[in-house]
């Protein structure tokens, strides 16, 4: 893969983004210390409340004297408040070099279709991940989020290899001879790239609500000669022709939307698939697969990180949701020891 834009950063931005990333690693260590503190206070699967809100109160009270917890939260808050700011600053410091590249028209086989009068779901306007301004919060948010935040920071702090995880998710599709593949919530195309590598003969489509992310995805595709067909449409109602695809898939999309939208997305995937076609959706680890302390750590972090739908997604029975819209041979499972990403896949009956 060829990078669409040179991400050489000047000293300040380079040093600060590296600092933010490494600080995140220390935060990860403190999180493990917090876990130890919770256990040391006698809280475990037997003593923790089943209700997540009651458990939250229980753990918060138990940790009132934990220095590790106070400092973990303080660092987390700093990270949330400074992640996007540092990326914006790094962009501004390098604007003279980056902007001409990002303004240069792209030539290549990729297309971006932006239909008029589409209805973007209300929830999408939230500021996901505490990202300042939301997905379209900066003229060059595709580059800023896709490269500076996701590749530079998340890529070095998130457990495992975030790009390898995408390749592994794509490999969960039961066939390799798909003709038309749709990536729902494709963003800047990190997963779309994995799909292109996995299914080199297939026509690759992408759908997303963010114009800024899609604009950058077009650039990524054209730089590499990939004929992605990108559309600014919501996953729940794409407007695409029924039965057009033989694989509809997504990566870590579902926890960004309310449970009703997950069901609507599955319904739309079912409509878009030809008989015999496959749906492969991947998302965060299910709470039922995690121990109660891990659930608390995740659930409370999700609240702070402005992930308003994480809980309802992580507790939704995805297998049942897929079966309810008509999929058969539905399987629901996690990959690797971390059970991440979580996969739900099914087939539209012939």
């Amino acid at each position: 893969m060829t990078n669409a834009i040179s991400t050489r950063l000047r000293q300040h931005g380079r040093a600060e983004l590296s600092f933010v990333a490494d600080l995140g690693l220390v935060g990860g260590h403190l999180k493990r210390v917090v876990r130890h503190d919770i256990e040391a206070r006698g809280l475990n699967a037997k003593t923790l409340a089943a209700d997540l809100d009651e458990r939250d109160e229980q753990v918060e009270n138990a940790l009132s004297d934990s220095r590790a917890y106070a400092n973990y939260r303080m660092l987390h808050r700093w990270g949330l408040g400074n992640l996007t700011r540092a990326a914006f600053d790094a962009f501004d410091e390098n604007r003279a070099e980056l902007e001409p590249q990002l303004k240069r028209p792209t030539k290549g086989p990729a297309t971006l279709t932006v239909p008029e009068n589409i209805e973007i779901p209300k929830y999408w306007h939230n500021w996901f991940h505490n990202t300042t301004g939301g997905w379209d919060g900066h003229e060059y948010m595709g580059f800023i989020h896709g490269e500076l935040i996701h590749r530079w920071i998340v890529g070095t702090t998130f457990p495992g290899n975030i790009f390898k995880q995408r390749e592994e998710a794509a490999a969960q599709a039961p066939r390799t001879d798909y003709k038309r593949v749709l990536d729902m919530g494709c963003g800047t195309g990190h997963y779309t790239r994995a799909l292109t590598a996995r299914f080199p003969e297939a026509e690759i489509w992408g759908a997303d609500c963010s114009l800024r992310e899609l604009q950058y995805a077009v650039r990524v595709a054209n730089t590499n000669g990939w004929a992605w067909q990108l559309h600014r449409v919501p996953n729940e109602d794409t407007g695409f022709k029924s039965g057009h695809f033989d694989l509809v898939t997504s990566y870590i999309l579902l926890h960004e939307v309310p449970a009703d939208s997950i069901r609507a997305t599955f319904r739309e995937a079912f409509r878009l698939l030809e008989p015999g076609g496959d749906m492969v959706m991947s998302d965060v680890t299910r709470y039922q697969e995690m121990d109660p302390i891990a659930v608390w750590l995740q659930d409370s972090a999700a609240k702070r990180e402005v992930e308003p739908f994480w809980r309802e997604s992580a507790t939704l029975d995805l297998k049942r949701a897929a079966e309810e819209v008509g999929f058969v041979n539905v399987a629901s499972y996690g990959l690797g020891a971390m059970k991440y990403p979580w996969i739900v896949r099914g087939t539209k009956p012939r």
């Binding site: 130890h36 918060e60 303080m74 659930d299 308003p308 809980r311």
Partner: protein
């Protein structure tokens, strides 16, 4: 001591119908999305007893920062004297070996700063 008790009592006085500010936050979290804005904006984690820890951390950080500022000034001065424009620092791309050296130093630096927030240094996980 009396003042402390009074403050504590004032803190635990809650409006009718709310058992605690935390409960108010968490009980509203069904669904969780409603709790988000409160959760991220209201809570105070560096409470009074943590201020001393924070002060220690700040002083350590300030000391580290001055060491860097001093070194940078010396370096830029030397560079200029030897005919290398100091502004090239901005655009210099570290090679792999130097990147590794920077990463090692940065991680150690962060460890040292964060460890200073704990009286006995960075705690172990377990």
């Amino acid at each position: 001591m009396a003042k402390k008790k009074a403050r504590a009592a004032a803190k635990t006085t809650k409006p009718k119908g709310r058992t605690s500010s935390l409960r108010a936050t968490t009980r509203a979290a069904k669904p969780a999305r409603r709790a988000v804005m409160r959760e991220t904006s209201d809570r105070e984690f560096l409470t009074r007893q943590r201020i001393e820890d924070l002060g220690q951390g700040f002083v350590t950080l300030a000391g580290e920062l001055w060491v860097v500022k001093d070194r940078l000034a010396v370096m830029e001065n030397l560079l200029d004297k030897h005919g290398i424009p100091a502004h090239e620092i901005d655009t210099h791309e570290p090679d792999e070996a130097f990147k590794e050296q920077l990463a090692k130093a940065r991680k150690a630096y962060i460890q040292r700063v964060i460890a200073s927030l704990f009286p006995r240094g960075m705690p172990k996980a377990g």
